[in-house]
Symmetry: C2
């Protein structure tokens, strides 16, 4: 793999967005290329965390299983995303799993390789700090939303989080089943279904052949900030 290729893959907001070619090829040099099939666990909850992943292609789900069996989806990752850096940095075990939800490729970087990269390219640390700051912000917003709002506004928020910015026809980044949406938005599959049906009636979303689309982005945003 060449630095150019990685540069193309890596998304705009990614950790590596403004890396120069020297940095990128250094990263590639020190990393291992890995392939996953749909359903493969790229990172496993409970394992010690001695490496970090950079998602190159495909999509993955970050989720955790609580001690009572409840599954919580924390986020979905796109190409360019860094995964598993938390356990790598603080030395703790992995508190969440990352599962490929389609055929996926990634670059694995071990702790020592990562430390070398940080040492050699000193801007790297600052970039990673920014990425992590945004991640904390997202987590806090998630806590806020979960706590302060009832199911309607909450589902609206999670749908908007899945929505693409310049989305033609309001298509979402991922076509999730209603049970998955439930695990992401923190509500039961049945409840998701009822809420979606209601919104479908009002022309806010459409649910054709399992695929949810946002028809009225504006009202959905209003709902997301509604009083209840």
């Amino acid at each position: 793999m060449k630095a150019e290729e990685l540069a193309n893959i890596v998304a705009e907001h990614s950790l590596f967005a403004d890396c120069d070619e020297a940095e990128l090829s250094d990263i590639i040099l020190r990393g291992h290329f890995v392939q996953y099939e749909k359903g493969d666990e790229m990172i496993m909850q409970g394992d010690p965390g001695n490496s970090l992943l950079i998602l190159l292609s495909g999509n993955a789900r970050t989720s955790m299983i609580a001690s009572n069996g409840h599954e919580i989806v924390l986020d979905y990752a796109e190409p360019g995303q860094v995964l598993g850096e938390i356990a790598l940095l603080d030395g703790g075990e992995r508190t969440a799993s990352v599962t490929a939800i389609e055929p996926t490729t990634a670059l694995t970087i071990t702790r020592s390789a990562f430390e070398e990269i940080l040492q050699k390219h000193k801007n790297m640390a600052l970039r990673l700090l920014k990425v992590m700051a945004t991640r904390i912000r997202t987590a806090n917003t998630m806590i806020e939303g979960d706590r302060a709002y009832t199911s309607g506004p909450r589902l609206a928020r999670y749908l908007l989080r899945l929505s693409v910015v310049g989305a033609e026809e309001g298509r979402l980044k991922l076509d999730l089943s209603q049970s998955e949406l439930g695990n992401f938005a923190g509500m039961s599959r049945e409840h998701i279904n009822r809420q979606l049906s209601a919104w479908s009636e009002d022309g806010i979303v459409s649910v054709e052949s399992g695929k949810v689309r946002i028809l009225n982005h504006a009202t959905l945003s209003n709902i997301a900030n509604a009083d209840s």
Copy 2:
């Protein structure tokens, strides 16, 4: 202020735990010493975030007000804690407020000063990365707990989070009113009251003159991981 003093103040797990004297005095040199009274807002939600705080003495509450008025307490900070680094790093506005809950002193560091410190002491970035990793971990655990468990286990978790490790007589780090506990644990004041009373009956906690104490740490831990 002298580097030694800061060294003494700063807690074990703090960002500055293993800073040498040169680093500490550099930080002091570039920061401003500020005092707050009980109730003062040290950081205000909605403001642009151009500085960071290091709590030197006193205690503070990090909380956010949702658009529907709901107040959510994210965490309580002790001396040594870094506050407000998220907005500083990612350039966004402050998503939470930090309020002094007792007379408090802090060291304010502006963005430029902070960048100088990072530049000069390159271990600093790595340390901050660790701190932030732990913070993401805490936030994720909070999301997990809020989602997967009912009020009982949840309150147990938040009480344990407030408990001191070698706590003589199970005293908590902070004596919170039941309404505050409610905002922290995400449940109504009344519900907190009922749950606490029930546990008090069973000898798991005691609630004397508004102060909660953990009498049976072991069972409370069990409750925190119960099936419901």
